[in-house]
Symmetry: C2
Amino acid sequence: VTESSGPVAALVSVGNELLYGETVDTNAAWLARSLAALGLPVVRKYTVGDVRGEIREAVRAATAAADLVVVSGGLGPTSDDVTKEAVAELLGRELRLDRELVRALEERFRARGYATLPTPNVSQAEVPAGATVLRNPHGTAPGLVLEASGSLVVLLPGVPRELRGIFEGDLATALRERFAGRLAPVHHRVIHTTGVPESRLAELLEPRLPADMGPVKLAYLPDLRGVDLRLSAKGVSEQEAHTWFDRIEHAIEPVVREWRFEAPSGDAAEALLIALEREGKRLAVAESCTGGLVAKRLTDHPGASRVFAGGVVAYDNEVKVRELGVPETTIRREGAVSEPVARRMALGAAERFGVAAAVGVTGVAGPGGGTESKPVGTVWVGLALDGTSETRLLQLVGDRHSIRERAAQEAIASLLRLLRRSFPGS
Amino acid sequence: VTESSGPVAALVSVGNELLYGETVDTNAAWLARSLAALGLPVVRKYTVGDVRGEIREAVRAATAAADLVVVSGGLGPTSDDVTKEAVAELLGRELRLDRELVRALEERFRARGYATLPTPNVSQAEVPAGATVLRNPHGTAPGLVLEASGSLVVLLPGVPRELRGIFEGDLATALRERFAGRLAPVHHRVIHTTGVPESRLAELLEPRLPADMGPVKLAYLPDLRGVDLRLSAKGVSEQEAHTWFDRIEHAIEPVVREWRFEAPSGDAAEALLIALEREGKRLAVAESCTGGLVAKRLTDHPGASRVFAGGVVAYDNEVKVRELGVPETTIRREGAVSEPVARRMALGAAERFGVAAAVGVTGVAGPGGGTESKPVGTVWVGLALDGTSETRLLQLVGDRHSIRERAAQEAIASLLRLLRRSFPGS
């Protein structure tokens, strides 16, 4: 934040629902990432209610702090929506009806079966004098761009789809032109890992990093599913950035290899689908404590059907016996959360669905159901591949949600690693 | 925001990761809701990076605008964490080592096997002169409270679990004492609905609302799963608020009855589990396009096993035939996304798992796979209850994620409604 010499941006998010905590401001995070990628780092953010005075004051403070001010929200048709009025007041501009916008709105409503433009929507065709209008491909409120004593002020609707549509359409182009030659775009490379905690990864990685990192910064971005390593470089050409990225990646590769995976979506489930497809193998799942989450993760991805045959959610022990062939005596002797049950679930799923690969998951997700020998967080993962099988014991921490998410992720990542060991090319 | 006469709050969120868009600021929404419930509405929010000057400036602006300023983030042990220093500077307080905090930290680290307190953590025991220390049950950074010319400034760590633990522990009590007699707590009642769009609900509801709503405001909170109606009342006793809520709820009940459900978590899946348990019936699912999501939603809830037997994810058509008894000829003639297939999936699941109730879902989640007669978003839901069955056709809009979420929600809500019709008491 302090180091930037190029132009910088500030955000103003408008909406009572943001102050009431009814809505989490996902627009701000999205805008921050998108602006940083263009070379316009965000240095300040203000959130205010739908109140003219407060919007005016925040936009005034923002223009003093930044070259670009992006105001989002409060452009709707109802009387609550006062962003345009507030900014027009601040900059001393009159609001004028834009004939072209009126026509476009009329057309939009006619296509939806309205004879005339509803009165409240007429206000959406009003534009502050001198503003540039940005097309909104997904809604009725256009984006607006205004010059304000050296800063550029942009108004965007708060509906995420509309805001993103305008940004990726007209606005990105306009910003590149406006700040041409002054932008220092940030280049990125992300290395996805799973199965290793952030602190352990950092410990192993730091001694391997080149003493000279050049323009590159390394960030650790952890979540429930794993840790992303993000390399970023600013103020250099794309080619130079990638030369540095290659050098650093090469240095840390021996350390990250074990936990690393590649997938366009950044999801290990997609990496597993890709690896299985490459080997011409199909997959089935048998889930107890994750209760459908592993199957859901796999089918999040279009085209999963090429690899994923299906699964059994064996929540009941009886289902484990009848559908997956887990021997009743094993459950009685070892318990439903046990090594042989996980193994049998995986083998049973592979058999039942007639596929080469399968995962079985059984565990105690909590909050109840834990015992001294099998506390909450105890999870057994069974893996089947081409008739062979192996198992893993996990001891997970967190609430029910975290334990289920982590168990599903470990099951997916474990099969991916087994596949790689068995078929080193994949 | 404008109407408050009692004390008001402002938030300052500190952290480069918030400006970079790497982290969505969920703390701010949580704090806003929690403060509003205490009677301290948030009127302004500032987000700044880990930079002393910017933190100072934001806290100064916030104290000018509000009676309470809650600063979160930047209390960690590393050199990036400068919130405490910045606020101490602004208020002209020296930082002093708190002996008691040092002892507590030493103990904490000893329990984790450390012989001495790691040097970076010593800084976490430094406290601005005159500050009150708030216990952190979940971490090493305590909360701090400072008086600053009429405003109260509170510093909290940014880790959500730690922030919430301090707030719900020492802080809520301290705020109630500090602002005693001046607080106007907000009372709430939430009515959950699903299966009806916000605009349609508003249209039906508005004419039913009493002309005199007294102190009550009504908000519509829509998401992918449905619309919550939130009644809130401020400046009255809890008893008076609930008398008003009862009156309004009574007036709108005939309109919302069809779509309303009740569940402690606000999740219709939990309402379904409760209704089935009351009727002594068990449930199974058969999923194609939702790919495990319905099962996952049900097993999100502890105790689901009392009602939920299990499910089949029949992603492959072969699985629909072999595991659920869908006739191959039906799939060939009608297609996998069709009324008879959905019906057979539900009946097949009920039979296979030996339970009274079942849901089957088959559809086109997209982005590919749509045809002119069955475009993306076409979903058939089959319901089985005590040997009878019925089906519903959905035409959903949105991306793959939205279509899957909506299909799962509609499947769950449809079975809940069928159950209610069949057993009016449930």
